[in-house]
């Protein structure tokens, strides 16, 4: 057990599994001696050697394409894309290849690969160091999409993702990398994919969220308890695809009032699917409109980033709205 930040937990997760499984290796830009721009891969090259953690040329298409090939031939590559904003040159390898390989080969070839990438706002990164693209991947059949919100989950979900037989897009909320510390077990442990986590109990309303919006939603729930004396359940989705749809619907039925929070732009965002699921399968239990609190439908600004990102106040207002409806 040790007290780790999320980025330390990611680093510990990589080391722990690499010690037990020789087939796991890490590749990406600056992941070697520098240890990655956020230090998530610090110490890997010195411990495991260049063969198992190495810097690549500046080509996301190459990182993922080579990773797909390695995965088809017995390795478990963990590709790092330095910022999620820079994943698009690899979009073809991800969407056309990694996602469809098992399907198009009738299971003859499979891609047990993880693509780790920091996403989201909070570091004054402007248009290209702040984006949240989870909806692109969740809409692509054949990909799993995982987003942790705590150090404990980050390590356990990452190891589960590495051991998973299918490609996983593992998105790390960079705003939480060093936001707080938490007790994290030593060595290998897993956290099941496709299970949501109840952060706070309650049945007056439910907030669905993930990643960096989890602490924001939790703070909002606390404020609503104060302002309205209502118990708001906060659900951390954790695995966006395959989503545990039943637990989402159950929470909506239990509470009858729903707010969904995401950093990404609202339109066609991941939250739209959560809303649509409820409107299709639990609409009769709703006591209020389903409110979405999301990034605005614009590119991500820089100077005004904190007016773009949903915060506890915006979420609190939305929850009070559905409660007062």
């Amino acid at each position: 057990m040790s007290e780790l930040t999320m980025v330390q937990a990611v680093n510990d997760g990589l080391k722990s599994i690499m010690r037990e499984d020789d087939s796991v290796l890490v590749l990406g830009e600056d992941v070697g001696p520098k240890g990655g721009v956020f230090l998530a891969t610090e110490g890997l090259t010195s411990e495991f050697g260049e063969e198992r953690c190495f810097d690549t040329p500046l080509s996301e298409d190459g990182i993922v394409g080579v990773g797909v090939g390695m995965a088809m031939n017995g390795l478990k590559p963990v590709c790092e894309i330095q910022f999620q904003d820079f994943i698009f040159p690899a979009f073809d390898q991800i969407v056309s290849e990694a996602a469809k390989m098992r399907y198009r080969s009738g299971g003859q070839y499979t891609v047990p690969m993880v693509i780790r990438t920091p996403y989201g706002g909070g570091i004054r990164g402007g248009l290209y160091h702040s984006q949240s693209g989870e909806a692109y991947f969740a809409h692509t059949a054949g990909l799993k999409v995982v987003i942790p919100s705590t150090p404990y989950d980050a390590k356990g979900l990452l190891i589960s993702s590495i051991l998973d037989p299918d490609p996983v897009i593992f998105m790390e909320p960079k705003a939480l990398y060093r936001a707080f510390r938490e007790e994290v077990p030593d060595g290998v442990y897993t956290v099941d994919l496709s299970k949501t986590r109840e952060v706070t109990p309650g049945d007056d309303a439910v907030i669905f969220c993930y990643g960096a919006m989890v602490p924001v939603a939790t703070e909002a729930a606390r404020r609503v308890k104060e302002s309205r004396n209502k118990d708001v359940r906060v659900v951390d989705l954790r695995t966006l695809m395959p989503l545990d749809e039943e637990s989402v619907l159950q929470a909506a039925r239990d509470c009858g009032r729903v707010v969904i929070v995401q950093e990404a732009p609202r339109f066609c965002g991941y939250g739209s699917e959560i809303s649509a699921l409820i409107a299709e399968h639990a609409v009769e239990t709703l006591e209020a409109p389903i409110r979405r609190v999301a990034g605005f439908d614009t590119p991500f600004p820089n100077t005004l980033e904190n007016y773009y990102l949903p915060d506890a106040r915006r979420v609190t207002d939305a929850v009070e709205e559905v409660l007062d409806f």
Partner: protein
Amino acid sequence: MSETLQIIDPSGKKVGTAPRLKNEVMVAMFRAMVRTRAFDDRCMKLQRTGKIGFSVPNKGIEATSVGAAAALDAARDWIAPHYRDFGIPIFHGIPAVSMMDNMFGNIDDGAVGRQMPVHFSFRDQLNYLSISSPLGTQIPQAVGVAMAMQRRKEDGVCLTTFGDGSTNTLGFHSGMNFAGVYGAPVVFLCQNNGWAISCPVEKQTASEGFAIKGEAYGIPGVTVDGNDVLAVYRVVSEAVKRARAGEGPTLIEAVTFRMGGHSTSDDPSKYVDAKEFEAWEARCPLKRFRAYLLAEGKLTEAEAAAIEEEAASEMMAAAKEAEAKPVPPLDSIFSDVFADIPAHLRVQSDFAVGHYSSRGEGVNEKGEFPL
């Protein structure tokens, strides 16, 4: 432009030093070329008669495919193929019916009827990666496959094939560069068949041929007569030898010609001059190798004729067999998305099976593929 290696000239005369090959191997290569042509002919007929939706003419590429295939050891080597490469699985003993299963998209198709025709994938007899429609994606994958063997200190090699047009894809640029940097055991085989659908090579790139593109990645480039099966065999064998010895990748340009349309949906008369076809017909890879084998006394006219007849009837029989097989089951739509079928796909699968088995009416007619 590095000059082009040729061992047998178009008339079948030996003009270079032939690689040392056992007779039965040379005959096996000839047989594979003949069977490739026969498989191609059969598929064209099946498409014209509406029994399959689509095929990709392989006429003209037989020497490049078979010469390269013969240089590989199926037991340890891998192939990341282009879609215009029937000769590789055929040389390595993939049963014609397994390939026909894919042309028909039936229940035994390796792709379970999910892919279009000519999108093969084989695993048991041959490490032959699943063919993708998006071009060039197999190239960095080949490098990854090779780097995995490199890390395990195996001496396997990965051959990847692609067309002239495909050299402009992302995958060519990233795959070649990674292979150069890591000295991966890969053989890059560019089939320069003159065209990318209707785009001629001179509109495809301003470089002096394709072998020279290796310079940009520190990878040696070689040009070979792609219609000369022995020349292709030799350059690919040498590249495989280098790769096995840990001496790194090679880029090979095989100069050949697409003796037909891009696909069964394409009419080349709109953009290819008929004279070009005539000129290249005279360089036919089959006629050339046949003449050589007869001249060298490796094969008699009667034996050659027998091989040709067998091949034709083999492919007809394979087509009949594949055609008779049922389509994949409805729930195959939902398997292989992930290793396990997640809850939401289970629900959709149950819906589909229930809905389509209960509904009175059938489903719409199928459309026609334009390219």
